[in-house]
Structure formats: C-alpha cells, structure tokens
Amino acid sequence: MIALLTRDLRLAVRAGGGFGLGLAFFLIVTVLVPLGVGPETALLSKIAPGILWIGALLACLLSLDRIFALDFEDGSIDLLATAPLPMEGIVTVKALAHWLTTGLPLVLAAPALGVLLSLPQGGYFWVVVSLAVGTPALSVIGTFGAALTVGLKRGGLLMSLLVLPLYVPTLVFGAEVARRGGEGLTVQTPLLMLAGISFGAVALLPFASAAVLRINLR
C-alpha cells in the first residue's frame, strides 16, 4: 500500500502528472474574482470565505478523473485488482494520494490567496481549519465518483454531475465555518457537522468505491 502511495505521488510530480493543476485553477479563481467584482473591499471580504471554498471544490473536481482513468487506460487497475492488496485499500490509498497532491496544497495556499480577496483578519485561521477538515471528504467522495465512471469514454462530465450534489453538504458547512470564523462568531456546530461528514465519508465510502470498481472491471 505504501508502494502504491509513493508511486502515485511520484507520478503526480513527474512531467504530465497533473500536480499543480488544481492549485493553478485555485489561483486563477481567486485572482479573477476580485477583478470581476471590482474594488469593493467590504463586499469582497464578505464573499471571500465562500469564494475560497468554491475555488477549492472546483479545483478538486478538476483533477478527479485522473484518479482511476490513467490506471484504467494502461491496464494497471486490472493488475492491481489481482494483486494481494484489498480493493478497499487501493481506493483509500488513491483518495489519500489525491488529497496529498490536490487538497493539501489548496489548504496551504488558501491563506496567501485570502489576501487577494481581503479576507477578514480573523478569517484566515478558520479558512485553513475548515479546508483542512473538509478537503479529505472532497477527495474521498470524488474517488467514489471516479470509481463509478471508470472505463467510460469522456466520463468526466457524468462524474461531475454525479459528484456535485454529493459535494453540497461539505461546501455548505465548510463555507459556514469559514464565514462564521471570519465574523468572530462561534463555529462549533458547522465545524462538528463538517468533521462528521469527513469522518463518515472516509469510513464508509471506500467500501462503496471498491464495490463499484469491482463491477466496473468486469
């Protein structure tokens, strides 16, 4: 399993691996929104947490179809399925690799990009916390979507449509944590909900992803 994780991370940072794709997209969104909205700092700082969350979510979505598509094309997924690794372990490692190469860089970049959106002073900490707690759910749910559509030609569109509604609760509570944190309000309830979604997704979805992947390989 560690071999699979290191392979996926190594592939992500090699040429054409797609590392930085999500990060670049996140950067583009956060740079363009202030230009589009105009120089109203009050308005910008009000929408900043939401924009950061939407940017992170779309950046995640962008790189999802790479999770299994490349392994499917070159036949590795068949060979992995016959290897001594449990399928649940494979999908968990795949989700973890996706989070490390997409989710984690977004969490780390968010405070820097928050400056562009005049994020309120108290908001930085909670934006980072909410993204750190929420992005694992995005990766795990996304892995499920990728497993559902593996093998479909240009399944990216279908996958986006399938995954988007599943992302809604994470977005709602994640952005709520960031917003309330920025305004100095108590964040306990949305933060617990967000953590609950993340833990629930991490605990349960690998079984679903493994099951649909097995069916898709037939």
Binding site: L4, R7, L11, R14, G17, D74, G75, L79, L80, A81
Partner: protein
C-alpha cells in the same frame, strides 16, 4: 495444489461465450489455450484471474495464487524500468528484481523511462513483472504480442524456468512458443449456446 476448472461457463457483457469447460493444471505444467478470435479466451482468463464472476461452475486453486498478465502491460510511462518493476515487486511483497531484469534482457534499459521503450521492450517489461510476483500460477493473455523471435525465446525460457521451480502457466496464444512440453486446449468446441438471462448481472 493444482488449478482446477469444473464445468465452467463464462460470459462477456452478460452474453455467455464459453460453457462446459473442464481442465486442470498441475504444478510444473503449462497449458496453451487455442481458439479463434472472439471465442472467449480473454474472458476465460479474466474469470480465472478473479476479475469477473463465473456464470456457472467452479474454479479451485486460483485466487491468491494467480499472477495475471493482460493485453495491457500496466506500465507507467513516466517511471523508469526499475521503478516500474520495483513497484510491482513491493506490491507482491518482494524486493529482488535483478533476476527478472536479467531474465528478460532489460539490464541495459534499467534506467530508461518506460515511455521511451519500443513496443517489444515494453512487453518484455510487462512479462518481467510476472517474475517479481512470486506467484505460482501464471495466467497470460497473448504474451508474445509484439515480441521478436529472440524475445519469444527469452519468454519461453522464463516459462520453462518457472515450470522447473514448481510453477504452472496458463496462456492464450496463437503462435508456436517452442514449448513442446505444453499441453494444448482448444476452446472452440465449448462455444456457448445463446440463452435468456433472467437477471441483469450488473446488479448481482
């Protein structure tokens, strides 16, 4: 322990392609599957490898004993030959890849990225993967595609070495490997008669 197939029926896309198959493969033996294109050799091999369920019948002695090699080699073009092979060795809990590199004449290519190899070299790397799995039953689907005569001889030698150490090999191929000791099994007489399926297998 031997690989045994009893009264097996396999289906591709819900349509039965072969039925009534029975054969066994003991340690130290090789079995070559023959049959025209589309006769279901790949489907049979995928079923034995455990990638899809059998329609009916039993397979014993498969599962964790199988090393499967498909049409696609499962190589990562951005990784070097050594990295590709080391990855599969680690997945199967082994560490030594030198024998596999030597067996398929890949030592000179060890540090080349897999993406820059020729089709035949890629195939050799894909087959070298079998030697690092440490699994006793090789299930091979058209292993000699894009190999030249010298490489086919290397491959036959690798299979012989595997059989000599108590392994066995089941392969679908159209060409003569020069493996005179291999048994031949023709799947053509086992073509399935069309039948109406009561359940949609996607929901099983």
């Amino acid at each position: 322990m031997e690989l045994q197939v009893k009264n097996l029926a396999v289906a591709r896309g819900g349509v039965p392609v072969l039925e009534g198959l029975s054969f066994s493969l003991t340690a130290g033996r090789a079995l070559v599957l023959r049959g025209p294109n589309g006769s279901g050799k790949t489907t049979l091999l995928r079923t034995i490898a455990g990638l899809q369920p059998a329609l009916e019948g039993d397979i014993t002695g498969a599962g964790e004993r199988i090393a499967y090699a498909a049409h696609a080699d499962g190589l990562k073009t951005a990784l070097t030959v050594t990295e590709n092979l080391t990855f599969w060795a680690q997945v199967f809990g082994n560490t030594d890849i030198s024998q596999a590199l030597a067996g398929f004449d890949l030592l000179g290519l060890a540090e080349r990225p897999a993406g820059s190899l020729s089709a035949g070299q890629k195939r050799r790397l894909g087959l070298a993967r079998l030697m690092v799995t440490g699994r006793p039953v090789w299930v091979l689907d058209e292993p000699t595609v894009s190999l030249d005569a010298a490489s086919v001889a290397l491959f036959a030698e690798a299979v012989r070495g595997h059989l000599a150490t108590g392994g066995s090999a089941l392969m679908a191929t159209h060409i003569d490997l020069g493996l005179d000791e291999a048994d031949v099994f023709d799947v053509a007489p086992y073509r399935a008669v069309p039948r109406v399926s009561a359940v949609d297998e996607a929901f099983l």
